[in-house]
Point group: C2
Chain length 230, copies 2
DNA sequence: GTCTATAACCGGATAGAC
DNA sequence: GTCTATCCGGTTATAGAC
């Protein structure tokens, strides 16, 4: 259904040609204003041929995910290698994320629109996007592991997933953020990263035990039962 | 642009006829499987006539919102009138919500897909949906006011909005919940309502002051600057 | 001015020939 | 693997009828 195997080098060539053309046009004039006919024409292939490689206009978006994810990884590397303070590590990673996706904000609406559809393979909770999701979660695992912070034993294993969820919430906000340069989201990140760091520290207090225990049991239960959120 | 004034009784009649037909077909065969031509045919009017009353297929969804909102209000009334425990009030309201929207789960994905688009007037953060949003927030204000719980002075004014945001998060989870009868979401609500109640109580502790203060300042700043989330 | 109908247009998607 | 021809459904233009 989805990824048909492209055999020949020529096929590879045509495929990536179409993809690059599409991403360029999306960024230039937006998703809705870019027709499949325009993509095909600009790429120098027929409409039917474009559909041979990409089952729908939507799946072209997957290329966007892959591209920005790799850009984000690159942008994160310096902080993850040098910084040891947990709060600053998280802040660096989140800032890098916002900077990476900023050029695409104008068609972010469409992204979230498709991402919100539970039946779409593009939605971040779907089976199909598990690899991407796990790679992204892994970034947050590295944020925690590479830091000097002491983490509550029970919180530790869940923390990367919790941070990934937090990061999705920020992106949701970012999508709806109309402030110039998305400064509201930047402020939100700065403030909430501080809160998150504070909460992580507080989680070690004995008086927090019952609350934390309950919350963590819930979270891990939900992840175990799969198919719905987180 | 949007709401054209329908003057004659005959016009009113035709309009509501189309709307009821549409909602029926949506529930029966789903949103995507229901064409505007089918709606028009079933309602006994021409395609052009349907578009005279409803500018697009999407705006027919507004009827769904209004309908479920009123059903929810009705379903909440008993709890809001009798119960005084904050946690149980909130739980009752949230359960009522889930029960109200359950029949529509099969096409909820599409509904919220369009609702998620920042440029759509249907999205819950838009200016156009402010009235609905405020009405919904008001339900949570009543949850708090009618309870016997003591609320931190500074938390009080923000609490209804925070609860509304919480409720939106639950709905997002619900959309992606594939467990039979959405039992996962019900469990999530039961657990998180308990956590929320606990957090509200904790917010009065002196040691929480700086954390709470910081969080609340952030939240009210963001709402003041409008245009992005919450 | 209020309402209704017919005939396009446009763009995503598919069928099938080469 | 690539094309042309076509379908299909949301949307619009426009011509009239009450």
């Amino acid at each position: 259904m989805s990824a048909l195997a492209i055999k020949t080098p020529k096929g590879q060539q045509t495929r990536s040609n179409i993809l690059e053309t599409a991403l360029g046009l999306f960024q230039e004039r937006g998703y809705d204003q870019t027709t499949m006919r325009a993509i095909a024409a600009e790429a120098g292939v027929s409409l039917g041929n474009a559909y041979y490689y990409f089952a729908s206009k939507e799946v072209l978006i997957q290329g966007f995910y892959e591209r920005t994810h790799h850009e984000h990884l690159a942008a994160c590397a310096p902080i993850l290698e040098t910084e040891t303070d947990l709060q600053r590590r998280l802040l660096g990673v989140m800032r890098a994320k916002l900077e990476t996706i900023e050029p695409y904000h104008r068609f972010a609406g469409v992204l979230f629109k498709t991402a919100a559809d539970p039946s779409s393979p593009l939605n971040p909770f779907s089976d199909e996007s598990r690899p991407v999701r796990e790679e992204a979660t892994n970034v947050f695992a590295r944020v925690v592991e590479g830091s000097s912070a002491k983490i509550s034993k029970r919180l530790g294993p869940e923390l990367p997933h919790l941070l990934w969820t937090y990061h999705m919430g920020i992106i949701l906000f970012w999508i709806h953020d109309t402030s110039p340069g998305r400064t509201n989201t930047v402020r939100l990140v700065e403030q909430t990263v501080a809160l998150v760091a504070r909460l992580i520290a507080m989680a070690r207090l004995p008086m927090m035990r019952p609350l934390i225990g309950r919350a963590l049991r819930l979270v891990s239960d939900l992840r175990a039962s799969e198919g719905a959120g987180a």
